[in-house]
């Protein structure tokens, strides 16, 4: 019997042929925590009496509240910095950016097992790694033992067919999928993507899709590797990390979905669940108070280029705040060099240091009561951005940029030549 991508990678990491439903112990290649989850990992790690970290790379990301907005968080950050001093673990400190973007640029290799105490660790699936989120205690064990317990998931296959229309992006595809199958549509399973549309998507656009797998409840969002993957790794000096990862032709999928993207419209997810997705034609006109372009979902250079192409020579609506947060230092430098910051600044944007920005609700754009934000992030739960009396709408960077100009949810195709 052939294997899905999930089954192939987990078989390698367990050192035996695995089958869905089986509980295995798997060797961890890469392990990450962040400033929200890491201090608890350190506490549990110390309780076990572990002395050093086992995985090739164990990384502590200070990205959720970076730079720190208050003393409790500054102290939490120091717990991570101190841990890195006494172990082989590394710190990625203030200004470096969001964990998932840095992992993609520097560390994740096709075929790796990456575990992270952050739900959007599934982003690494876009590079053909089995990459999944878990808790702080799991990460203490991954750090200390170099392995984790896992239940092998069944896989749902998503075949993406057709031609992606202008103004419609990978964010719209994944919002559409989640809107169709539901926020628990793939609970516990692995998502695997295939089909001709992948050839039309850059590596960055693919990462957006994998990033949101967890919003359908999935354990991983796996994309086979190809020349696009190789070119991306090469861009970051990691050509040798490339490896072909794909499912066997006779792999067994629990369900297969075929999605024709040719007629998709830009999508917007309404509050307070990600699956509350509407087409732009049914969403336009909603007045907003803030637009946020950034995050591990859509804070990459390609996203900023798209937003800048719409904002060029235009101004944001006077009644809204426009916040731009590059996902990493590399994205930040590229945007600066390419003149994108000039466009954002002239449009009236506030540009913040690389990191999670206002997505997590701790700083840099907490909503006021009864305010609405249109954001390129992945999640719109009640209270997510720091105020349960605020509302979060999710969309692509293009839709966000167009909406920043008009002050209401707007079809980006109105602004594309």
């Amino acid at each position: 019997m052939g294997k899905t991508i999930a089954e192939k990678i987990l078989s390698e990491k367990a050192g035996k042929d695995v089958i869905p439903g089986e509980i295995i112990v798997a060797k961890v290649d890469l392990a990450l925590v962040q400033d929200g989850t890491g201090p608890l990992t350190v506490e549990v790690f110390d309780k076990f009496g572990f002395k050093d970290v086992k995985p090739d790379k164990a990384i502590l990301f200070i990205d959720h509240a970076a730079p720190s907005p208050r003393k409790e968080l500054s102290n939490a950050h120091n717990i991570l910095r101190d841990f890195a001093k006494r172990t082989r673990a590394m710190v990625s400190d203030v200004g470096e950016g969001v964990s998932h973007q840095i992992m993609a640029e520097k560390y994740v290799k096709p075929g790796d097992l990456l575990v992270g105490a952050d739900s959007h660790t599934c982003t690494g699936g876009g590079l053909g790694a089995f990459s999944t989120g878990m808790g702080s205690t799991d990460l203490a064990l991954a750090f200390g033992l170099g392995k984790v317990w896992l239940k092998v998931p069944e896989t749902f296959l998503f075949e993406l067919k057709g031609r992606l229309p202008e103004g419609v992006y990978s964010k719209d595809i994944i919002l559409h999928i989640i809107g169709t199958i539901g926020a628990d549509g793939v609970t516990y399973k692995a998502m695997e993507f295939t089909g001709e549309v992948l050839d039309q998507l850059s590596q960055e656009a693919r990462l957006t899709i994998s990033n949101m797998a967890v919003e359908a409840g999935a354990k991983a969002g796996l994309i086979p590797t190809d020349e696009t993957t190789k070119a991306y790794l090469k861009e970051y000096g990691r050509e040798n990390d490339f490896r072909k990862i794909k499912a066997d032709p006779d792999a067994n999928y629990e369900k297969v979905f075929t999605i024709d993207v040719s007629n998709l419209e830009p999508a917007v997810s309404f509050p307070h669940t990600v699956d509350n997705t509407r087409k732009i034609s049914e969403a336009r006109g909603v007045k907003i108070n803030q637009v946020f372009i950034g995050t591990c979902t859509n804070g990459r250079i390609e996203d900023l280029r798209i937003a800048a192409s719409i904002l060029k020579g235009r101004k944001k609506h006077p009644d809204i705040r426009l916040i731009v947060v590059p996902a990493s230092r590399d994205v930040y430098k590229k945007a600066l060099k390419e003149g994108l910051f000039d466009i954002f600044i002239d449009a009236g944007a506030a540009i913040m240091a690389p990191g999670c920005g206002p997505c997590v609700g701790v700083h840099e754009g907490v909503l006021g009561d009864n305010e609405k934000v249109l954001s390129t992030q992945n999640r719109n739960f009640l209270g997510r951005m720091g105020n349960p009396k605020g509302e979060i709408y999710l969309a692509s960077p293009a839709t966000a940029a167009a909406s920043a100009i008009t002050g209401e949810i707007t079809d980006p195709r109105d602004y594309l030549q």
Partner: protein
């Protein structure tokens, strides 16, 4: 293990932001303080009124969202003995197992009301609603997870065995 307690009722899609809101991010290194806000954005009075041994009963996809283990930890810290739901989000489920908080999936969760008294037999897979005189079957957790729950969480489990015994 038999658990007995009275029910607190919640709806569908209770996220980790309902359970441990982002605005209390700075309290994550102070779990007893964070526990004073547990489930605040779903029911404001929950933290002040919940009693030791109480049971949460909810709808679909309980615990969706973030990987924050603080969410199940503060539910346990508040005294909750178990959570019953129609379904759970994956990371929440995993975290709950690791910290020794039993979760039970039953489709008929809607038939259970606030204040009902339940008895849960984890190993044999029964929930008895003693208030209504009804009984429900559920598929017990896989053995490994039950061992972890019975040890009170994976900290105790690993301390005892030194490694995963699978």
């Amino acid at each position: 293990m038999i658990l007995k307690g009275k029910v607190w009722k919640f709806g569908d899609d209770i996220s980790t932001d309902h359970i441990a809101p982002g605005r209390y991010f700075h309290l994550r290194t102070n779990l007893p303080e964070l526990a004073k806000h547990v489930l605040e954005d779903a029911r404001e009075d929950f933290a002040s009124k919940v009693e030791k041994g109480d049971i949460i009963v909810a709808g679909r996809n309980f615990g969706l969202g973030s990987s924050r283990e603080h969410a199940p930890r503060i539910i346990k810290l508040a005294g909750v003995a178990a959570i019953i739901a129609k379904s759970f989000a994956r990371i929440f489920y995993r975290n709950a197992v690791n910290i020794g908080l039993p979760l039970i999936e039953i489709k008929e969760a809607d038939e259970i009301d606030e204040g009902d008294v339940l008895e849960i037999d984890l190993a044999n897979g029964f929930v008895k609603n003693t208030t209504k005189g009804k009984e429900y079957k559920f598929v017990p957790m896989p053995k490994f997870m039950l061992y972890v729950i019975n040890e009170g969480g994976i900290e105790n489990y690993i301390s005892k065995y030194g490694d995963y015994k699978i």
